[in-house]
């Protein structure tokens, strides 16, 4: 068992000791003894800041034999049209980096129906082994057969780490299978590294991105992590060298209670994730008509308009154009924020953009902390002038 032991004798100031816990989990019990309560999130701040009054005691049994778990596996996802979701390729690039540090192979898992083109693609992106589950019963994502396929792979191959794209289906599949193996899953990692012990160092935002947490799965394998699209860079294509291993599932493991009645494609619209340049409408924009000015700027920059949550909630823009933790994560080459204050939930969805330009009247706005180029000024003067200048430059060419 592991727990936090409270050394009452080392506590000089009880109120200060209680205040150490950001979650209010340090409290006095009926006997006036300080205890760690149910609110504990194991952030260990009390251990680090408590001057020895709080001790982490860990006498739990040793975990699995990590040497028996080899390989960094990437679960790829087929879209309903049969193409590969690009997050899988980004993860293959990261998996190669991680696997090289511990000399493990990179594995790709392909689950679907009619997967040949996808198998070729993942081979070209450097997988050492491609494990394929191809069956008409896997044509649509349905949780039971997909979870059975991934579980079958884990039972057969014993990978050390399993990386899954943080897509809608990935965030459905990964937890289901992680629970089946009674192992750890870290959602929406933004940084991954590999320690020599083969423990995956996972860093993820919590509290809307206001806190970063470094998380390990020290005693269990495999260790699951999900990563959203566009967090990691797309690797370069190379000469295929990997082997293909085909697996089959029995009929009962392919069965599902979920019946897919229809897959409807939504009207095609270029998403803000694909745009190379974005102009973002924030609360500093006063009227819905003024979005037009930002649209013009976006068009001149060859990009799209996007917005903060407040603007979507006001009904000025479609939710698909919302950047941030409750919207989309974007990583364009250029992003120009107009009248955006830079709430951390927003910033978490765009701070990997290559060049960030911020226009805001308030010099103290937190957007300027992440901006590479800051313009303290009124967007109603700056943007029209900028549009005029860009037009002049384009005409001069």
């Amino acid at each position: 068992m592991s727990y936090i032991k409270v050394h009452q004798d080392k506590i000089a100031d009880r109120e200060a000791a209680k205040a150490l816990c950001p979650f209010g989990a340090i409290a006095e019990n009926a006997e006036g003894v300080l205890e760690i309560g149910a609110g504990c999130r194991m952030c260990r701040l009390c251990i680090r800041k408590g001057g020895g009054a709080f001790e982490f005691v860990d006498d739990s049994a040793p975990g699995v034999d990590k040497s028996k778990w080899r390989g960094v596996a990437v679960v790829t996802e087929l879209l309903p049209d049969g193409d590969l979701h690009p997050v899988g390729l980004e993860l293959l690039g990261k998996a190669r980096e991680l696997a090289a540090k511990i000399d493990h192979p990179v594995m790709a898992v392909v689950i679907g129906s009619g997967t040949d083109a996808v198998v070729d693609k993942v081979l070209a992106y450097g997988a050492d082994e491609v494990h394929v589950y191809d069956d008409p019963a896997l044509a649509h994502f349905r949780i039971e057969p997909y979870a059975n396929a991934l579980s079958d792979f884990i039972e057969a191959v014993h990978p050390s780490s399993v990386l899954v794209g943080g897509t809608v289906n990935g965030r459905s599949l990964a937890p289901r299978v992680a629970a089946r193996f009674r192992t750890g899953l870290t959602a929406d990692c933004t940084v991954l590294d590999m320690s020599p012990t083969t423990d995956l160092d996972q860093i993820r935002p919590a509290y809307g991105g206001n806190i970063m947490a470094h998380i390990n799965t020290p005693r269990h394998r495999p260790q699951f992590a999900t990563v959203r699209y566009k967090i990691f860079a797309m690797p370069k294509k190379g000469a295929p060298h990997g082997k293909v291993v085909r697996h089959a599932l029995s009929a009962d493991r392919l069965a599902s209670l979920v019946e897919v009645l229809e897959a409807r494609r939504k009207p095609v619209e270029k998403g803000i994730e694909e745009a190379e340049a974005l102009v973002v409408c924030g609360r500093g924009v006063k009227k819905p008509e003024d979005v037009e000015m930002l649209r013009e700027l976006a068009a001149l920059l060859g990009g799209e308009v996007a917005s903060t949550r407040a603007v979507v909630e006001a009904g000025w823009m479609d939710a698909k154009r919302q950047i941030g933790l409750s919207g989309r994560t974007v990583k364009p080459k250029l992003i120009v924020t107009c009248g955006v204050s830079g709430a951390i939930q927003f910033v978490a969805g765009m701070n990997n953009s290559e060049t960030i330009v911020a226009i805001n009247t308030d010099p103290k706005a937190s957007i300027f902390k992440v901006a590479h180029v800051g313009v303290v000024g009124d967007l109603y003067t700056v943007v029209p002038e900028l549009i005029a200048r860009i037009k002049a430059k384009k005409e001069a060419k």
Partner: protein, 263 residues
């Protein structure tokens, strides 16, 4: 029909900051509230209740003060409340949270339909629902954007994917997580507040559950460990353009041209 909705009390704001010098969290005293995504789950359950006459139970896990969110659920029209609260449940990661909730379901169920919000605003993992379904051995779907048809033994719904909508039919028992916007959540009603003020809530501690081994809960059972928490980094290199607004705009246009954004 019996419906269970999982709800959670979260900090009133996510605007928590870490003091860079001491490494401690700065709290601002904003009171805790119901996870906003759970309101959509509650509303979905209450709409189904209106059509089918289902009984709706709200389940939560947390320190004793989380009773507040169950009371709030009563004010929206929920019939029963269950709270899982025990020191042994503290420090739970996704696996242990989902296990404890599943134990609560086993103790107070069975339920035909379990509805969860898309995610919480504090943990943001969006994965507890799927893990719960695995513990309970029932199918699940995530990101449900509409309920299309209710039958005696199954539910038809639409799952929202970025480029597709999937119309699906699932027999009970099953679990689903709903998108925000599936229905507009109702406000708590004063009439229901008065009517439910004395309604009893089922409190479950470790000793009340089927699995009573403290090693299977909370921190002890959690495979993930938080090594440390720290503030997000912010870019230090940046230029602020000088001049009046028009001059700044001119400088920005030059800069965009230099960096080849005008091609």
């Amino acid at each position: 029909m019996k419906i269970l909705v999982c709800i959670k009390q979260v900090p009133g704001t996510t605007q928590v900051e870490i003091d860079e010098t001491t490494g401690t969290l700065k709290r601002d005293g904003v009171p805790a509230k119901m996870n906003p995504f759970d309101l959509y789950a509650l509303e979905t359950a209450l709409r189904i209740k209106k059509e089918t006459g289902a009984e709706v139970t709200a389940l939560t896990m947390g320190p004793p003060q989380c009773e507040k969110v169950v009371r709030e659920a009563f004010m929206m029209g929920v019939d029963r409340g269950v709270i899982l609260s025990d020191r042994a449940f503290g420090g739970a990661d996704v696996l242990m949270t989902s296990f404890t909730l599943a134990e609560g379901v086993r103790k107070t169920g069975p339920y035909d339909l379990i509805i969860c919000g898309k995610q919480t605003t504090d943990g943001d993992t969006a994965q507890v629902g799927a893990e719960m379904a695995e513990w309970l051995g029932i199918p699940h779907v995530v990101n449900v954007k509409s309920i299309d048809r209710l039958e005696a033994d199954a539910i038809s719904l639409t799952v929202d994917l970025p480029d597709y909508e999937m119309a699906e039919r699932i027999p009970y028992p099953c679990l689903m997580t709903v998108e925000k916007g599936i229905f507009e959540p109702r406000l708590p009603s004063y009439r229901l507040k008065c009517a439910t003020a004395d309604r009893e809530i089922t409190w479950l501690a470790l000793g009340d559950l089927g699995d009573k081994d403290p090693k299977h809960y909370g921190l002890n059972g959690s495979p993930t460990q938080v090594k440390r928490i720290f503030p997000p980094e912010s870019h230090v290199e940046h230029v602020m353009l000088e001049g009046d607004d028009r001059e700044k705009a001119a400088k920005l246009a030059d800069l965009l041209e230099e960096r080849k954004f005008l091609q």
